[in-house]
């Protein structure tokens, strides 16, 4: 009942024509599904059989899965699975040899579809590419029949024809799948919206490599007390694993940063986190905390490239003791540096994808990057200039990330237009505190004006209870010893209700020298003045 391959096959002229039909160059133009379909039809006609089927190996389960069939299409529809080593197809796969069954003893056949059809004779060969088993192709006849060496030769030719195509398609789809997964993963991990803070302008970009994803990331974090955190990082390696690792490190850093830890300690915590991961993880990262009120930049780096500060005076790359990479050495320390970012200056953090060239010194590459971006007036410009240069470099580039933060000057007159939502209050406080500080206003006046303006804005937000999106405006000016703040909304003034209401107005009157509330059909205007000296 067993038949093994018989050396060289010399087909007769009729069979030779059939062989030629199987190696038709046009077949290589077809997609895998069409190719298999076409191949099965030709095999069926060449051998004059009733059924043809291709089963492919599922590596994970070590089972053969029906992929394409003629005459027994149900096999595919039912998703028939045959364990390696068992039944007719399973034995072909296990022994990697052709098997011929002249008179099918149903005990030998696992496949219920073959049994139901009443197949009498079967011939099958393995699909092998470069020593690796891909699956099995087999043919069946309803009437008892002997398959000779010529028949075997044709089936083997068909196997040799489809196996590489299957392998190519598999590799292609596996790679395409990996790339797709990694790109989606990476995109989902990058911030979708950057915070908007008065007096600060931020832009960032991530550029994936041409053919695979990497482990670069950036992050912008709104921290307690009006601080802003910006992060850049680069996981060693590429592909899904690097992207997934990036996600873990980015999340860990984001979480520790939100706890309010200083930059150096935050990176040390992420380092301990990386040390504790089951697989070795190594990355470089830098984390800067910017205080818009004071312009102070607290900066720590774990083996990352030096930051660039673009300044109207002197643009420079800031050389700092970089600390050791995350996950590299146990209990490594991450020193913290205090820098200043003055009004008009921009901090630029970037990954090596933006600077590393095989034939150039790193310091020269950083100089080149500085040259490229120094004319950028806004963070958005800076990112565009850097990315444009990278795109010109062409294929073979690494992935790259860049994030830029500019301390934008606050003008003498503060004017804000904000959406009438509770979260606007934070924005008002941040902008006002900075504006007051820049005018040298401190102490009691600073605190009391902040509270009074907060009340006026809360009032404007409470007025805007209509379903339509509403906004309000704030204007603050100084004139000699006086600070004047005006808050305008488009809602109707509501008389204070309830025992605990009306306290806002009390606070405003106590904190400021003059408070004027005027309400018209167009809206409510609260105008307040406060004298800075000798109250």
């Amino acid at each position: 009942m067993l038949l093994t391959a018989v050396g060289q096959v010399s087909p007769n002229p009729q069979q030779a024509r059939e062989l030629y039909r199987l190696s038709d160059p046009a077949l290589s133009e077809l997609g895998l599904d069409e190719l298999l379909d076409e191949m099965l039809i030709r095999v069926r006609s060449a051998l004059g059989v009733d059924t043809v089927a291709i089963l492919l190996l599922d590596e994970e389960s070590q089972q053969l899965v029906a992929r394409a069939a003629k005459g027994i299409e149900e096999e595919v529809d039912r998703g028939v699975r045959i364990p390696i080593g068992r039944g007719f197809a399973g034995r072909i796969a296990a022994e990697r040899l052709p098997i011929f069954i002249a008179d099918v003893d149903h005990a030998d056949v696992l496949n219920p579809v073959l049994r139901e059809k009443g197949i009498s004779s079967l011939l099958g060969v393995p699909l092998i590419v470069e020593g690796a088993l891909l699956g099995v192709i087999h043919v069946g006849s309803l009437r008892p029949r002997t398959f000779g060496p010529g028949d075997l030769g044709i089936l083997q030719l068909a196997a040799a024809r489809v196996a590489p195509a299957i392998e190519r398609a598999r590799l292609f789809s596996a790679l395409a799948h990996e790339h797709r997964v990694a790109v989606v993963l990476q995109r989902s991990l990058l911030p979708t919206r950057l915070p908007e803070v008065v007096g600060v302008s931020i832009a960032a970009r991530y550029l994936p490599a041409r053919d695979e994803v990497g482990g670069d990331w950036y992050d912008v974090i709104e921290l307690p007390r009006g601080l802003l955190g910006i992060v850049i990082g680069d996981v060693v390696g590429h592909g899904i694993r690097a992207a997934a690792l990036m996600g873990q490190l980015r999340t860990a850093l984001h979480g520790y940063a939100l706890e309010g830890h200083p930059p150096g300690y935050t990176l040390e915590l992420v380092d301990r986190f990386a040390q504790g991961m089951p697989e070795p993880a190594m990355a470089t990262a830098a984390y800067a905390q910017f205080d818009p009120e004071t312009g102070v930049l607290r900066y720590a780096t774990a083996g990352h490239l030096p930051p660039i500060i673009l300044s109207p005076q002197e643009t420079r790359s800031v050389e700092l003791v970089p600390g050791t990479p995350l996950g590299a050495f146990a209990y490594s320390r991450c020193p913290e540096h205090e820098l200043r970012l003055n009004a008009g200056e921009t901090l630029v953090l970037y990954t090596d994808g933006l600077v590393e060239r095989r034939d150039t010194l790193l310091s020269d590459s950083i100089e080149n990057l500085i040259e490229t971006i120094r004319e950028g007036e806004t963070p958005e410009d800076v990112c565009l200039l850097a990315i444009d240069r990278l795109m010109r470099i062409g294929p073979g580039r690494d992935d790259a990330a860049i994030v830029a933060l500019q301390n934008t000057a606050i003008p003498g007159e503060l004017r804000l237009r904000l959406s009438a939502e509770p979260r606007a209050l934070t924005e008002v406080r941040q902008a006002l505190r900075r504006w007051l500080s820049e005018r040298g206003i401190a102490g009691d006046a600073w605190r009391e004006i902040t509270i009074a303006v907060g009340e006026a804005c809360a009032n404007a937000i409470e007025h805007a209870y209509s379903p339509a999106p509403a906004s309000f405006e704030l204007e603050a000016t100084t004139d000699g010893d006086w600070v004047t703040v005006t808050v305008r909304d488009t809602g109707r003034w509501r008389e204070p209700r309830g025992r605990n209401r009306g306290r806002g107005l009390t606070i405003m009157r106590a904190a400021m020298d003059d408070v004027d509330v005027s309400s018209t059909a167009e809206g409510t205007v609260i105008s307040m003045r406060r004298r800075l000296s000798a109250r």
Partner: protein, 117 residues
Amino acid sequence: MNLADARFSIHGNVVVAQLLGEIDMSNADGITRALLDSTTNDALGLVLDLRAVDYLDSTGIRLIYSVRESLRTRGQGLRLIIEMDSIVGDALRLSGVARHMAVTDTVEAAIAALRDS
């Protein structure tokens, strides 16, 4: 971003809540609920530590009143810990409610005051 954080600890039959960050209309309701939920029925009362609060407006004062009212109906007390020379102290003073508040300097003194009352 969450503007404020609340940290709770239990000292015998007194609950101590430390608030950190900024309190305004965006988070006052959530904080009120958290304070009332964490002060269980078997507690004598709540100590509210506001020393780490960086901003508090009239909504925050309403929060204090509403927590005090709710605790009172359950027969529980409220003690505040406030640094009077701070923005929180300013808010209480400017709104004229400072003198109506039972204010203490330390957690220990606040707990003792709740137990004595």
